[in-house]
């Protein structure tokens, strides 16, 4: 629904790049959103970025900003501290997220009730430094994210390697857990944390739910390790050259990278060439 009285002032507001302190509009009809502040009737920008206008709401989306969570986001986090009945999780955001003991799956199936003893052996579930695959369920009063892992695909991550990318490059999509044709599982956290690991058939996980918090990696053969490393380097080069990171772009990059040795993928020329290749295939596809 576009606002009918499209005055000249509103048309040139959108998609302009503004910097802190610059005037966006002094038309009192507008409401101010994120990235702006108002003094008397004028709306100023408080960040450098592109102006976005949705009907009456004017906001500025900074191009570079730390990840700020949305409810329902699928993310990867690292446990930083074990506190009473909760874990603090680094989620690459402004504050650590919180994973409550009551919002995780307990080993031994769904029907197991939370007991006092669980509170005492918290570290058998998650310990400091563990990586967790979780979903944002709500906010706390001060803006910290509250996470949960109450579905079988979520939980502790193992058998793989960790990659950090710009959060803006990971678009929100239906599912963030993919098994690539080359036999590698990847988890694309919306907060820019990505996990690349050996493929574990889903059926094996449900069998013995005792193992969902085990810390032991399974056996990983050499060529599985090489594929994991190749995928990780592909993600690095996509990130460095600002290509959107999705399962399709990673697959394209993987296929294009097969002619090079894994370690060469990080050299500048090869990275640029591969990224260009991926971009053209993505444009053809869309």
């Amino acid at each position: 629904m576009d606002v009918d009285m499209e005055s000249q002032d509103t048309r040139d507001i959108a998609s302009r790049i503004v910097t802190p302190g610059s005037v966006i509009t002094n038309d009192t009809a507008f409401m101010r959103g994120h990235g702006t502040f108002a003094e008397r009737t004028t709306i100023y920008s408080s960040v450098a970025g592109a102006v976005e206008r949705i009907n009456k709401l004017v906001s500025v989306r900074p191009l570079k900003q730390r990840y700020s969570g949305e409810i329902g986001d699928i993310i990867v986090g690292r446990i930083t501290e074990v506190a009473s009945k909760r874990w603090r999780v680094d989620v690459n955001s402004r504050q650590d997220g919180i994973l409550l003991l009551s919002s995780i799956n307990l080993p031994g199936g769904i029907q197991r009730r939370k007991s006092e003893s669980d509170e005492l052996q918290m570290r058998t579930f998650f310990a400091e430094g563990d990586l967790v695959f979780a979903e944002v369920q709500s906010y706390f009063a001060d803006g910290a994210l509250s996470l949960h892992t109450r579905s079988l695909q979520y939980g502790k991550l193992r058998n793989g390697t960790f990659v950090t990318v710009f959060p803006q490059l990971v678009p929100r999509s239906r599912s963030h857990f993919h098994t690539l044709p080359c036999g590698v599982d990847i988890v694309l956290g919306v907060n820019g944390y990505i996990w690349v690991s050996k493929h574990v058939p889903a059926s094996k996980v449900e069998e013995n739910s005792e193992l969902i918090y085990s810390d032991k990696n399974e056996f990983i053969s050499d060529d599985e390790r090489e594929t994991i490393a190749r995928i990780a380097n592909c993600i690095h080069l996509l990130n460095r050259l600002y290509v959107k990171i999705t399962d399709t772009s990673i697959i394209f990059a993987y296929e294009a990278s097969l002619t090079h040795a894994v370690k060469d993928l990080l050299t500048r020329e090869i990275a640029i060439d591969l990224a260009h290749n991926v971009k053209t295939r993505l444009e053809q596809q869309s």
Partner: protein, 245 residues
């Protein structure tokens, strides 16, 4: 000590500039990829590198404030920054003073209330020192903070000014700054309303001359504001192009 001729009869200063000329400024945002925001800033021969991390979880949570972010500034001078190598100790009062000035200046400029219980770290490293240390640190830190996408009321632009032989001079270099006769005034303003965020002055200046020297410094700040703005726009467009195609 022979009284060094700071302004030649023709009105030229030791480095060939006129009285109201700024040193050449070149600056770039997003120079480090591990930091949330970063900037490299050169003003004449003074070169400084700033990295900004945050807002993020404070290292020691007892300092976290309930309703706003805390700002932590660490400033150090590279031992190779001046001609004779000098390693400054951690408790050097001059370093602590500059970091506390930068911290207080940005406490007024950053909208800390938006990021409760978090911490913003500003790490400043002076690579080469040719006068105007505080001024370049503030300008570089502004650029890095804007690059990090942290909400600010406005840029903070700083500039120095002095007074030799009855004429106000703009942007002092090391020779002018360290000579004892020349008063050395540093002012940092918020360009939008011209208010003064920081004002520091050393050695002597007659009270009647203060107004002219400050006006010249404020002019310098406005010019620096344009330079910083350009650097931000260049970095923003460059990033926007990369992300879009």
């Amino acid at each position: 000590m022979s009284r060094q001729e700071l302004i030649s009869p023709e009105g030229l200063r030791v480095d060939g500039r006129r009285a109201n000329e700024l040193r050449r400024i070149s600056c770039r945002a997003s120079v480090l990829n591990s930091a949330d925001g970063s900037a490299y800033y050169e003003q004449g021969n003074t070169k400084v590198l700033v990295a900004v991390y945050g807002p993020r979880e404070p290292r020691n949570r007892s300092l976290a404030q309930q309703d706003h972010a805390t700002i932590n500034v660490e400033f150090n001078i590279a031992p190779f920054s001046t001609s004779e190598r000098r390693k400054r100790s951690k408790g050097d009062k001059r370093l602590l003073e500059i970091s506390s000035f930068v911290k207080q200046t940005f406490e007024g400029a950053i909208q800390t209330a938006i990021y409760p219980r978090s911490q913003i770290d500003i790490y400043i490293h002076l690579l080469q020192h040719d006068g105007g240390t505080l001024e370049t640190c503030i300008n570089a830190a502004t650029l890095a903070l804007v690059d990090a996408g942290i909400s600010m009321m406005d840029y903070v632009c700083a500039c120095t000014a002095g007074f030799i032989d009855e004429t106000p001079i703009l942007d002092l270099n090391f020779v002018e700054e360290s000579s004892i006769e020349v008063p050395n005034l540093t002012v940092a303003i918020m360009p939008r309303n011209g208010n003064i965020a920081l004002l520091q002055m050393e050695s002597k200046l007659h009270s009647s001359k203060l107004e002219d020297v400050m006006e010249l410094a404020v002019e310098g700040c406005k010019h620096i504001h344009r330079k910083l703005d350009q650097a931000v726009l260049v970095a923003a467009k460059d990033l926007a192009d990369k992300l879009s195609n």
